[in-house]
Amino acid sequence: MEPAPLNISAYVVLSAILFAMGALGVLIRRNAILVFMSVELMLNAANLALIAFARFYNQMDGQILVFFVMTVAAAEVAVGLALIVVIFRTRRSINIDELSRLKD
């Protein structure tokens, strides 16, 4: 059965909006966890675009790539959260503006 033709632009727009929200979050928020969530948002925006295009071109590559992204994201979450926990323990804060010691 031939898949129904897809209106790709809607998906791409949604993905772009999500990505922009994520990017803004990363740039604006100070709470490390929220920054982190914004990063996730960006990743998932990318995922959405990938899935959409995969369906549109009827090719598997995009979907495979999504799996990779999800795996990497999971790993990244694990590491990132661990780092945040450690940082919180030592600094009693997860305000990323205070984490500028590497500058010196």
Binding site: A23, V26, L27, I28, V35, I96, D97, L99, S100, R101, L102, K103, D104
Partner: protein, 772 residues
Amino acid sequence: MEVFDLVPLIVFIPIAGLLLNAWIGRYLSEKGIAWIACGAAGLSFLVAVALGLGLAGGSEGKIVPIVDWIKLPAVGVDIPWAMRVDTLSVTMMLAVAGVGTLIHIYAVGYMHGDARFGRFFIYMNLFLASMLLLVTGNNFLVLFVGWELVGLCSFLLIGFWLHRDAPDPETGIIGGIKNTNAAKKAFIVNRVGDFGFILAILLIWWTFGTLDFGPIQGAAHAAGHEEVAAGEVHEAAPESAPGGEAVAPVTPEGVCQPTGEGVFPMAEAFMAAGCNVKLGSAEVPIGTLIVVVTLLMLVGVTGKSAQIPLFVWLPDAMAGPTPVSALIHAATMVTAGVYLVTRNNVLYEAARGVNILPFGLSPPDIVALVGAITAFMAGTIAVAQWDIKRVLAYSTISQLGFMVAAVGLGGYVAGMFHLVTHAFFKALLFLAAGSVIHGVEHGAHHAHEHGTHEARTFGYREGVLDPQDMRNMGGLRRRMPVTFWVYVIGALALAGIFPFAGFWSKDEILLDAFLRGSEYGDPTGWLVLILLIGAAAFTAFYMGRQVFMIFFGAPRTQAAGHASENPPIMTYPLIVLAALSTLGGLLNVPGLHPFGTWLEQSVPHAHTADFNVLLALVALAIAGVAVALAVVIYYMRPALTSDGLDRLQRPLGPLWTFLHRKWLWDEAYHNAVIRPFNALGGLLAHLDVRYLRDGLDQGLYGGFNRIAAFLGGDFDLGIIDRVVNGVGRVTQQLAGQARHLQTGYVRNYALSVMLGVLAVLLILLLPLLFGQ
């Protein structure tokens, strides 16, 4: 199983004794230690007796292999631990173990109360084992092991009192250090001798491909050699080759080819064939090689048997306990050189005919001359000594000279005979001297308890008595009767007075010299004869002097006046030895010559000459005159002058000093050898640090540093550094500006990443926007 298979026991029993004492000795009383040590010595003697009886029963003896030692099958090196029972080795075993046992027993009394009593007997047993190994070894290397080990024991025993802190009478050196030095001197001088010996052994191996002495030859074989005169070429002895299909001793090209028979038979075969020996890439005639080997061995002999020029250690060795002096430095170890020459009689006789040395001398001639000169020189020195043991030490050197001269003249029987009788009477004299010393020490102690003070003593500077100095003695004949009588017997035997043992053996030596001169027309023989007769005269004179000085006259000190006789454990061995010294001459009584016949089995060149009455009378007369002189000088008047000098000291003047300081040998060595040696050693060490270490450091390591310093200094700082610094400074300034970009805030970085991404996208998209 034959009785000869017991021979390893003769070495293993003393080793077992010493191990036992080392293991449990510390828990035992002196008595227990003494039983173990003396028991081991006595058992060895019994083994020796058993072996002797076996040989006397007509058997030929046996070679008893024990175990492999140095074995390199690929190149045919096979040097086993093996022992040899023949009449020569058994003679030595009997003398060593017999006299050794008596001295062990004596030492139990002498060393009583010493803090290291156990240690002493461990060393004594070790010595016995080593000496017996030396005489039983069936090849040169086993012999050499014993040879060095007895040197080690000598070292240990001379240095036995190494902790003494009383100063030495003459030099003022602390006793322990003096003993240590004497011990070191003995070991090192012996090593110099061993240097020659080991080289000889190496040459022997490369010549003969083996170090085994060879099969034990029957009396018949020995007889076959009797008429072989010096250097006369005779037929090779193929009958001694096993089986008859043996390899020819010479290749067609005239190169010696070992037949695997043993050194001595091969030496004869090679000499007979006149072949050349291949040594590395060179070829050497066999005669030359044997001359070299025998001369190198002579170096070993002069070390061990205290001959010129290596005798200097023996007088100092008297620092050891007296039983040690008796056992090692008189009766047994020092005779090893005589044994060595006798054992190698085949080689020495082979070398006799090779005239490649100056003045037509052959190695045995040199041996004889060394012995005779030593005998004479030591005899003169003994006249001018004060120390009772030093007199005996020089007397030992002199008598060893007699023996060495004898074997050098080819009088192997006479040499060995004198070795045995000398073992008896010199052990006796030393032990009796020890008894005297002990008695005087005891007397000093006694006198001290009674609060009497010495009016005048000799030796020590500050009123401390030296119990070995004969000037502190006198009149001991009544205080110590047993010691006196045995001492006189020993002295008569040593002086060669009829009918004591020394008379017979010394006479045979003189006879050999006489025959060498008269029958062979060898001038060496005459020279040796004259020297030996002179030495004999001196011997009789200094022994007379000693006896009169010690035992006659009035006591010169309180200690001598209070001296007392020693316990039976010390006197009984003396009596046994006195008996042996009296009757020892019967061993080789003229007419029968049992000892000569006995030795012929193992010493192919053994021969005995008939007793010459005239020569005996002359020798006796000379000895008599010398004794009479001693009577006149030391007995008719007090032995010392009123100011404490020897009767001869003033008349002889500087000559006396020259004799007293043993012909200045020590001084000569000190200046000619030791001082340059030390100086050169110091210099080399200095150079090593100064040039090789520091110099190389400065040259290589330091040069490296200097180049590095230049590069790092002028060059680097001047040029490169400036360039680099310039670059650096600019960079730094730029960086200082750029630094402000780094805020440390994550978002700033994120923003820049974002902007970067946008920029990249823009660039990628530009063609899309404008290109089409």
